[in-house]
């Protein structure tokens, strides 16, 4: 009984939190703006400073906060389910890093200027290569050590090639933008970024959520799952391609925002027990809450230049990660 009602209650709580933080995201910013007036201007179809700031700057930021967070939370939960390892996370194991590399190549080569879709496609291609590589290296029952070491190598390689690509750009500012790609930010993004990335992320969400039944069965072991009529190859394919679309699409417009896919599933897992399928949609909502809240926080924390989003998620996520490693020490060695 309780396992049935608690997730439903939790979904309600998460949705309320999303609405609250989405609203905060529209209100918070450097420009002193009367949001109520701005909303009435938007509704009246007037173009003025208020409606422009609200519609063209704060709204895309809030939407991206939710969809990027949802993508990262969902991918984290799905990867942990597929690799049956609680430390799998797009940022830690290098999937986000490779997505950034793909996006950087598409962006700074000028390809995305003539063909805008090249940006998210670049991100997706990078993320796909990384998940595939990870799966080949770590296998279906990933030992933590193999998984993390493969992740370290993929991350370092992607980071180095990203730096190389930015150094080769003839734009003098490109080299400084490595901070954006490796630390992530939603500052000054536009609705174009939403329309570019949202459809591809939706594809990713669909594929990942479709893997729920397979991931549930996989907890019983591969043979039992197969005897239940689950095609494991299909499940893995859904997770790999789904993660590529969700993470690739989000990193291409926001840069790498780490640890969301680690922290969120871990916080929500106690509520659903060992049900990786249920954890998927909860982590999706939870990721949205976390990134929306973090993005409001970077605007409120009074630092000179705005804090990068990834800096904040890492300061929360990295100690959390260490705690998990500490708890799993015996299992690793």
């Amino acid at each position: 009984m309780t396992t049935q009602t608690r997730p439903a209650l939790l979904v309600g709580v998460l949705v309320v939190l999303i609405i609250i933080f989405f609203a905060i995201s529209l209100v918070v910013g450097r420009a002193p703006l009367n949001v109520a007036d701005a909303i009435s201007s938007v509704l009246a179809g007037e173009v003025n400073v208020g409606s422009l700031v609200l519609l063209e700057l704060r709204l895309p930021r809030a939407i991206l906060g939710f969809i990027v967070g949802a993508s990262l939370g969902l991918s984290g939960a799905a990867m942990q389910g597929m690799l049956r390892n609680p430390l799998a996370e797009p940022g830690i194991v290098g999937v986000s890093g490779c997505a950034a590399l793909g996006a950087v190549i598409a962006f700074y080569s000028g390809l995305s200027a003539v063909f805008p879709l090249a940006l998210p496609i670049g991100g997706i291609a990078g993320a796909f290569v990384a998940v595939l590589l990870l799966y080949v290296m770590a296998g279906s029952r990933a030992s933590t050590l193999t998984l993390i070491l493969a992740g370290v190598a993929i991350n370092a390689f992607a980071g180095a090639l990203t730096a190389l690509a930015l150094n080769l750009s003839s734009n003098p500012y490109a080299v400084f933008e490595i901070v954006f790609w490796q630390m992530g930010s939603l500052a000054d993004r536009s609705l174009d970024h939403v329309t570019l990335s949202l459809p591809l992320m939706l594809v990713g969400w669909g594929l990942l959520l479709a893997s729920a039944r397979g991931l549930e069965a996989l907890t019983l072991g591969e043979e039992t799952a197969a005897s239940l009529g689950i095609n494991l190859a299909t499940t893995r394919g859904l997770v790999i391609v789904g993660t590529a679309f969700a993470v690739g699409g989000s990193v291409a417009v926001s840069g790498v925002i780490g640890f969301v896919g680690l922290v969120v599933p871990h916080l929500l897992r106690p509520f659903v027990g060992h049900h990786p399928g249920k954890l998927l949609y909860l982590s999706m909502l939870g990721g949205g809450v976390l990134v929306l809240a973090a993005d409001a926080a970077v605007r409120l924390i009074p630092t000179g230049a705005e804090l990068k989003l990834g800096v904040l998620t890492a300061t929360i996520g990295a100690p959390f990660f260490l705690l998990l490693v500490h708890r799993m020490r015996r299992d690793i060695t």
């Binding site: 910013g29 450097r30 420009a31 002193p32 703006l33 173009v47 400073v49 422009l52 700031v53 063209e56 700057l57 704060r58 962006f107 700074y108 080569s109 000028g110 995305s112 200027a113 750009s169 003839s170 734009n171 003098p172 500012y173 490109a174 400084f176 933008e177 954006f180 500052a187 000054d188 536009s190 609705l191 174009d192 000179g304 230049a305 705005e306």
Partner: protein, 258 residues
């Protein structure tokens, strides 16, 4: 006297003030006409990349550099007991004048320094600043603006322009999100990168729909980097460019109102 400069801005002052024979080496940057208007003066002079091992064999009597660059090289040069003059980034036209004097005195051509300052002052007093009430804003790539106390702020005033970012207490160059730019709506937007330069996130922000919708007929000035990357007399050229833009806007507004 054998002089070496390992900073773009001290390169420029050195080239404008010293005798050619005194200059043993300048940076590779000043030899690039896309970076410095003093590139023709540097032709034929050996280039360096700011490395100690390039400087030491030249046995200089004086090394010029900035306080913000090549710190480890400067520390090493001081340990080797080489005389080093370090110039901080200038925050005002008076700082520019003071630095001209420092370099002129150091290279033994004080009179040239005095003449260069007099020439700069003459150009400044000849500026025909007539427009009033126009506001400008220097928007830097990836969301920064020039605030009060910056050289750019003084250059805007010298061109008769009000610095729209002044009210935000940004210090010299501070974080300035796009939503403030939409709110502030300056008459003239000063940029130092081109819209059509190779892609970067900085350029992408210039094409943000919120900006296009805000400034229908707005005046953009693309400031050539040669004009104000350094506090040398070239800043007067930058002020002239700003003044031209102000006059264009005033003339256009005058035409539309009559």
């Amino acid at each position: 006297m054998r002089i070496v400069s390992i900073n773009l801005c001290t390169d420029e002052l050195l080239l404008q003030l010293a005798d050619r024979e005194q200059i043993k080496s300048v940076t590779w940057l000043v030899k690039d006409p896309d970076i410095s208007w003093d590139a023709p003066l540097a032709r034929g002079i050996d280039a360096n990349y700011g490395l100690v091992e390039e400087v030491v064999p030249l046995e200089p009597d004086l090394v010029l550099t900035g306080t913000m660059s090549t710190r480890s090289a400067v520390a090493m040069l001081k340990r080797l007991k080489l005389p080093v003059i370090e110039l901080p980034p200038p925050f005002s036209l008076d700082d520019v004048r003071a630095q001209i004097r420092i370099v002129a005195d150091a290279v033994g051509h004080s009179a040239r320094g005095t003449a260069l300052i007099a020439q700069m002052n003459k150009r400044l007093s000849n500026l025909n600043v007539s427009t009033a009430g126009l506001a400008a804003l220097l928007y830097r790539p990836n969301g920064g603006a020039a605030g009060v106390g910056s050289l750019a702020d003084e250059m805007m005033s010298a061109a008769g322009l009000e610095n729209r970012a002044a009210k935000w207490s940004l210090d010299h160059y501070g974080h300035y999100p796009l939503e403030l730019l939409v709110l502030d709506k300056p008459d003239i937007l000063i940029l130092n990168n081109q819209y059509d330069s190779p892609p970067s996130v900085a350029n992408e922000i210039l094409n943000h729909p919120a900006l296009n919708k805000t400034f229908e007929p707005f005046e953009t000035v693309i400031m050539p980097p040669q004009a104000w990357s350094c506090g040398t007399p070239h800043v007067v050229d930058a002020i002239e460019i700003l003044l031209d833009a102000a006059n264009r806007v005033a003339r256009r507004r005058g035409n539309t109102s009559t």
